[in-house]
């Protein structure tokens, strides 16, 4: 054919020719052609998460300044070891005997940590921010191989729902802690200080984040095929859906609020600051 299109033999593939530079695809050498500041969101995410991890690691291992009656730091509640500071009426149950010499925070923090680590939003955040898989949309990732969540350990992300159940318990205990915040330093009820407001704001955000979870949305109604036969669960599903649309916002705001709540308790407990009492 004079104007024919018989293709020449394709060039031999080299190991470097992968992804967008794989043979057969449009020959463009740049790994991406984005001109916007695509690196900013993953960078901010990574810095934000790193800051929180740094702070919470320090506080979790500190094993000090986590109780300032009537407030307990959310990092240390429930407090399950023998070495816990006594908390009047608080959730300090010595399930672990004197043999546990480390910080009691380590016993409970793994649960909220697990909940957030397997959370569908945080997964996106750290896969993009730390693993660069991908760093941003249509920006080539650096890995030679990718199997996603098909294998151990990442296949364990499927256990998110169990962390959700535990997160409900933890949120319940933190609610109890918040209620205890309506006492004065001697345990008398009907009082309030700035710390009470801090704990209130935190627990509201913790609940909103927990209930906005994708697993929660599935469990309350998403798994149904016929909403019309389950009007109550349909309504619950719709409400959770409203929260779920703000899952990222709630993830960040509850992360910050829990850090602030701990910091507040730390500042009061370490004597850096006196809790202003309202009544």
């Amino acid at each position: 054919m004079a104007t024919g299109t018989t293709p020449a033999a394709p060039p031999a593939p080299s190991p470097r020719d992968r992804g967008v530079r794989a043979p057969g695809r449009a020959a463009i050498t740049a790994p991406h052609l984005r001109t916007d500041r695509w690196w900013l969101p993953p960078l901010v995410t990574a810095l934000g998460l790193a800051a929180f991890v740094g702070y919470s690691t320090w506080r979790a291992f500190a094993n000090a300044d986590y109780y300032a009656a009537p407030y307990v730091s959310p990092f240390y509640s429930p407090c399950l070891a023998h070495n816990c500071v006594p908390m009047k009426g608080g959730a300090d149950w010595a399930l672990f005997g004197p043999w546990w010499g480390l910080s009691p925070a380590l016993l409970v923090l793994i649960f909220p940590l697990g909940f957030r680590a397997t959370c569908y939003y945080y997964r996106k955040a750290y896969y993009r921010g730390f693993y660069a898989a991908p760093p941003a949309c249509a920006v080539a990732e650096p890995h030679a191989k990718y199997t996603g969540e098909t294998r151990f350990p990442l296949i364990l992300q499927n256990l998110h729902r169990y962390f959700f159940y535990i997160a409900l318990l933890v949120a319940g205990i933190l609610t109890y802690d918040t209620a205890l915040g309506f006492r004065d330093t001697h345990g008398a009820w009907g009082h309030m200080g700035l710390g009470t407001l801090v704990l209130l704001a935190n627990i509201a955000l913790i609940w909103a984040y927990t209930l906005s979870c994708h697993s929660c949305r599935h469990i309350v109604g998403g798994r149904l095929r016929h909403f019309s036969r389950h009007p109550v669960r349909y309504r619950l599903w719709s409400w959770v859906g409203v929260l779920n649309r703000r899952h990222m916002l709630l993830a960040w705001s509850s992360l910050i609020s829990v850090g602030i709540a701990d910091l507040y308790v730390y500042l009061v407990a370490s004597g850096a600051f006196d809790d202003p009492r309202f009544f």
């Binding site: 695809r25 984005r34 993009r128 991908p134 996603g148 499927n158 256990l159």
Partner: protein, 256 residues
């Protein structure tokens, strides 16, 4: 009506090679990138290959990458660029290129065939289907899909890893499985097909790491990740990672 000369870089070539060519081209008020490509065809490059049909964001033909971002050319207005900005237009970079801005998207049609079709319920005659609006709404969202394949193009699972193409159906077709799994009258389960587990076992749902680029590029604003892929992962988890269900199936197997 104001107009100006814009600087365009358009990828020209075929499977054997190609490069970004520079063009100076007139741009008028209110135009979109596809208009500029058409002007190039009519005035400077009559054989510039491009796919397009409706020019109204309804058919999903003119998918390409503009300044590195997967977009429909007909829905990318020139006013989003500054006048001195170079606008770079390339074909989608996940699919094999045919020529210029046209790629071979047959992978998507292959994947479409691998998703088992709707199974009509037995004993329900045409005209007797009864479905509540609230029950069809979830699947209706997914049926808004115009098959532009931008989600398939942007998904790093196949964009950056050719070797995953056989195992991974991609967001569009995982969403199709979700659509059928949520269809109020689909009778696949009666014929032994559990769509959610099949999504994980046969269509590579596990490759998805929910980084949401499919949702970001969807011109129909379908919440692919939140409403299709994550629910599908949860439905698969119901079946595969729920110890009670697992125990139940073990006991049943022993009883046989």
């Amino acid at each position: 009506m104001t107009s100006y000369e814009a600087h365009f870089k358009v990828w020209r070539g075929d499977a054997e090679g190609g490069d970004l060519r520079d063009y100076q081209v007139e741009v008028n008020d209110g135009e979109v990138v596809l208009d500029i490509v058409h002007r190039l065809q009519a005035t400077q490059a009559p054989d510039l290959a491009v796919r397009w049909n409706c020019k109204a964001g309804k058919c999903g033909s003119c998918s390409a990458e503009v300044n590195g971002r997967p977009r429909l050319m007909c829905m990318t207005r020139m006013s989003v660029f500054t006048r001195d900005e170079t606008v770079t237009v390339t074909p989608m970079r996940t699919f094999p290129v045919v020529r210029d801005l046209v790629t071979d998207v047959s992978l998507n049609y292959t994947k479409a065939r691998e998703v088992p079709s709707f199974v009509p319920p037995e004993g329900v005659a045409p005209g007797e289907y009864r479905m509540a609006q609230v029950d069809v709404e979830r699947s209706q969202e997914f049926r808004k899909c115009i098959e532009c394949f931008l989600c398939q193009n942007t998904c790093h699972v196949v964009r950056d890893h050719d070797e995953n193409k056989p195992a991974f159906s991609g967001p569009r077709f995982l969403m199709r499985i979700a659509e059928l799994d949520m269809h109020p009258l689909d009778a696949a389960a009666d014929h032994g097909l559990t769509r959610a587990t099949s999504a994980q076992d046969d269509h590579g749902l596990g490759y998805c790491n929910i980084t949401k680029c499919c949702t970001e590029v969807c011109p129909e604003q379908i919440k692919i990740t939140d409403n299709a892929l994550i629910p599908l992962k949860e439905r698969a988890a119901d079946r595969k990672y729920d110890p009670l269900v697992w125990l139940g199936s073990r006991i049943r197997r022993r009883g046989q």
